[in-house]
Each structure stands twice: as structure tokens, then as C-alpha cells.
């Protein structure tokens, strides 16, 4: 099987979202997760601009410039949605009322440290947004990311090389070749793409990574491309 596409990584993460939970999806790949949440579960998506209960992206006719998410997407509201101001939205986030935040990541360390805000491009301004608040405040932080950089370097590391977003926050990593738990002992592979050997996984990971006792194949249905 080929390495997972962005949609496929998002699909895989969506399958682990618990029924009845409140989830914040970061800008970029994480927001794709909303397209793949199983129909039989009921989830409230929070966006840090204050919308609790983000619905599907708006059709052209519905678009209201004021009904947007934190990524400026024009959205709809799901039944039972509510909207608060930014101070209350981050009180909700910081206060532990979000079950899971799904974020993009440049790097994750074996102790759960996350680096996702500063790629250190010279003279480009910083872009923090709500990532630090989400990573610290949500009950669980999951990251979606490519397992390696374009030039082949590891993104799962013993220690992050880029500036940290938050310490000890990531519990689950979904990559194009694996699902990895960040356990007390470090990285543990829960799922691995067919055709990727344990040795290859270790070679592509910048820290010690255990193969879970019950490690499965990472499988995505053909309908997701």
C-alpha cells in the first residue's frame, strides 16, 4: 500500500474519536478529519474563534462572512451549536473542556513535546494562534503529520529541534505510515502500513520506537483517497 494521503491520515484519526466528545481540529490537515467522523457517532467540533458545534463547510448560497471557523473557512452550524467570545472560548479550551485537539506538527518528541508553530524561516513573522493553548488545555492532543520531512529527516524525535509549542502533551500521532502512541516509555507503534517493516519504521523515526504487542496493519478503505 502507498503512504497515506492527507485525507487518509485524517480518516484514520477520525475513527478514534469517541462518541459524544468535544473535539477541536487545527487548521490544515486536521480540519479534514471532520469529513470522516463516523455517521453513527455524535460529536461537537469546537473552533477557537468561539464556535462550538461547527457543521459542514457552507455551500456557496449559505456563505455568511461572519460564520467562519478559526481557519477563515465559511462554515455552517450543527444543531445545538453555540458561539462565545474569544475570552470564553479559550476559557473553555484552557479549562479542560475539550476532549481532544487534533493538530498539525513539525516535530513530536518521545516524551510528548510538540513543536508546531515555528519552522524557523528567516525573517518570517511568528504565527502562534491558539496552538499552545490547545495543546496545554485539551484533555488529549493528537497530531497528524508526515512521518518524515520532504528531504527524509525524522519528525518523531528524541528531543524536538524546533521551538516547542508545549511540553508532554501529545498522546497519539497519525502519520502517513503509522499510528503511534506516546506512552510513558516513549513511542509505541500501534499500526503500521503494510509493506513498511519494523526496521524501516525505526530507520525513519528519530527516537527509539517500540512495536506494540498488538500492532496492526494501518488500513484505509478504498473510498478515501
Amino acid at each position: 500500500m502507498n503512504a497515506l494521503s492527507r485525507n487518509q491520515i485524517a480518516w484514520r484519526a477520525a475513527q478514534d474519536i469517541a462518541d459524544g466528545s468535544v473535539v477541536n481540529l487545527g487548521i490544515g490537515m486536521p480540519v479534514l478529519t471532520s469529513n470522516y467522523i463516523p455517521k453513527h457517532i455524535d460529536v461537537f467540533l469546537q473552533s477557537e474563534n468561539g464556535v462550538l458545534g461547527v457543521g459542514p463547510e457552507a455551500e456557496e448560497a449559505q456563505k455568511d462572512p461572519n460564520l467562519v471557523d478559526a481557519g477563515s473557512r465559511r462554515i455552517t452550524l450543527r444543531p445545538g451549536a453555540s458561539i462565545v467570545d474569544s475570552a470564553d472560548s479559550f476559557a473553555m479550551i484552557r479549562g479542560g473542556h475539550i476532549d481532544v485537539t487534533v493538530l498539525g506538527a513539525f516535530e513530536v518528541a518521545a516524551n510528548g513535546d510538540l513543536a508546531n508553530w515555528d519552522s524557523c524561516v528567516p525573517d518570517k513573522g511568528p504565527l502562534i494562534g491558539g496552538a499552545m493553548d490547545l495543546a496545554v488545555g485539551a484533555k488529549a492532543t493528537w497530531t497528524l503529520m508526515q512521518h518524515n520531512t520532504k528531504d527524509g529527516r525524522a519528525r518523531l524525535l528524541e528531543v524536538c529541534s524546533l521551538p516547542l509549542t508545549a511540553s508532554n502533551c501529545v498522546s497519539r500521532i497519525y502519520t502517513d505510515i503509522s499510528v503511534v502512541e506516546v506512552a510513558e516509555t516513549g513511542f509505541v507503534a500501534l499500526e503500521l502500513l503494510a509493506g513498511v517493516s519494523a526496521d524501516e519504521l525505526r530507520a525513519r523515526t528519530g527516537a527509539s520506537i517500540a512495536i506494540g504487542d498488538d500492532c496492526k496493519f494501518l488500513v484505509v478503505p478504498d473510498s478515501v483517497v
Binding site: 461572519n66 467570545d85 474569544s86 525573517d123 516547542l164 508545549a166
Partner: protein, 225 residues
């Protein structure tokens, strides 16, 4: 005399702002930018302003026009990265040391502004601890968690975009237009609400999203362009 905070002219509503003022500007995710008032403020030709705004470079906000006109000495924000690979006007000024930047996590940003309006001079937060943004900040442990001390942000002028306002200064917002508006209005000595429509009659208490006590001037400008 019956209270009536409605003003006809955007420029009259900011005529008393002075060089060096701290100006807060609402808006996030494409919603809630007080662009008519930002235009009026720019035309005042003030110098050495400090802007407190979520993004220094958002394309839909006219915040950047004050920066490009050289009227801004400092920006306090959560995002200052221009689009694309080249440098934005802000990024060039920043690189050249001609503008000061304080970039902070969005939840600390909103909470510091809320604190400014709520008479709380400082608070501890777990967000940012252990990151480059907390370097030099006081650290203290609460319940086993390391937290940083953050101080309130207050301002001279808040420019807030809403939907409707009544003569007393009560304001409603459309959807996610609310974002930083209420907190900023509470944290500044003068607040100008730029709204689509100024009402002749008072609104119901159930409609009010920003109470009159926080709004000094109302300018009706019609819908967003």
C-alpha cells in the same frame, strides 16, 4: 439628558485619539474587522501607536495599512506571519528593527485583555510554559503544573465591529463576529463600536451581547463591503 452614543462620522469618533495611543482592534477568522474605523484612524495621521490585534498581517483587516503607513511603533498579537514565501511589509519593518513585536498565545492574549477589563492585574497560566515565549517570565507551580505569570493588557481605544447597536451602546454580533470585541471593549478607556445598523430604539436585554457600559461611541456604517 437621554443617553445617545450614536455618532455620524467615523473620523469624529476617533478625533481625540493621541500619538502613542494603545489601540485594540477586533477581528479573527475573517469576521469582525472594524475596517471603516481603521480607515478613519489611519487618516488621523497619528504616530507611535501600539496595536493590540490578533493578526498583524491578516489580508481582510486594514490593520496592515496603519503599519505600512509607518504609524505603528509596536504590535501585540498572536500572528504576524505574512502569506507566501516573501516578506510582508510588516515582516520587513520587523526585520529592520523599525517595529516592535510581542507575539503571544491566543488564549493568553484574550485572557490578558479580559483581565485588563476585569481589574485583574495578573494571573498564572500553564500556557506557554517551557516555550521560547515564556523566557524570562516568572514561573510558579500550582497543583503540580508549572505556570507563568501574565499581566493584564489595557488600552486607550478599542475599535470593535458589531452588527447592531442601540442608542445606549448595547451591541449585538453576527455569528463569529464577536471574537475579541467584548474583551477589548472592556479593557479600553474609550470604545467605538462600528456596526452595520444603529437602532433608534433600545434592544431587549436578551439580545445584548456587549453591554452598554463598555461602549462609548457607536458608528453605523452599513454592511461589510
Amino acid at each position: 439628558m437621554a443617553i445617545d452614543k450614536r455618532m455620524v462620522s467615523p473620523s469624529d469618533a476617533v478625533a481625540d485619539v493621541k500619538d502613542g495611543a494603545v489601540v485594540m482592534v477586533s477581528g479573527f477568522g475573517g469576521a469582525g474587522f472594524p475596517n471603516i474605523m481603521l480607515d478613519a484612524l489611519r487618516e488621523q495621521g497619528l504616530r507611535d501607536l501600539t496595536l493590540v490585534v490578533n493578526s498583524a498581517t491578516h489580508v481582510y483587516s486594514l490593520t496592515h495599512t496603519l503599519i505600512e503607513a509607518g504609524q505603528v511603533a509596536k504590535v501585540i498579537c498572536t500572528a504576524a506571519r505574512g502569506r507566501g514565501e516573501g516578506l510582508s511589509p510588516f515582516e520587513k519593518l520587523w526585520r529592520d528593527g523599525r517595529i516592535e513585536l510581542e507575539c503571544i498565545p491566543q488564549g493568553n492574549f484574550s485572557e490578558r485583555i479580559r483581565a485588563g477589563g476585569a481589574g485583574i492585574p495578573a494571573f498564572y497560566t500553564p500556557v506557554g510554559h517551557g516555550t521560547d515565549l515564556a523566557v524570562g517570565k516568572e514561573v510558579r507551580e500550582f497543583g503540580g503544573r508549572l505556570c507563568v505569570l501574565e499581566t493584564a493588557i489595557t488600552g486607550d481605544l478599542a475599535l470593535v465591529r458589531g452588527d447592531r447597536a442601540d442608542p445606549f451602546g448595547n451591541v449585538t454580533f453576527l455569528y463569529a463576529q464577536m471574537n475579541f470585541g467584548p474583551a477589548m471593549a472592556s479593557a479600553c478607556s474609550t470604545t467605538v463600536a462600528e456596526v452595520r445598523e444603529a437602532l433608534e430604539e433600545p434592544m431587549s436585554h436578551n439580545e445584548v451581547q456587549l453591554p452598554s457600559v463598555y461602549v462609548d461611541r457607536v458608528v453605523a456604517v452599513g454592511g461589510e463591503p
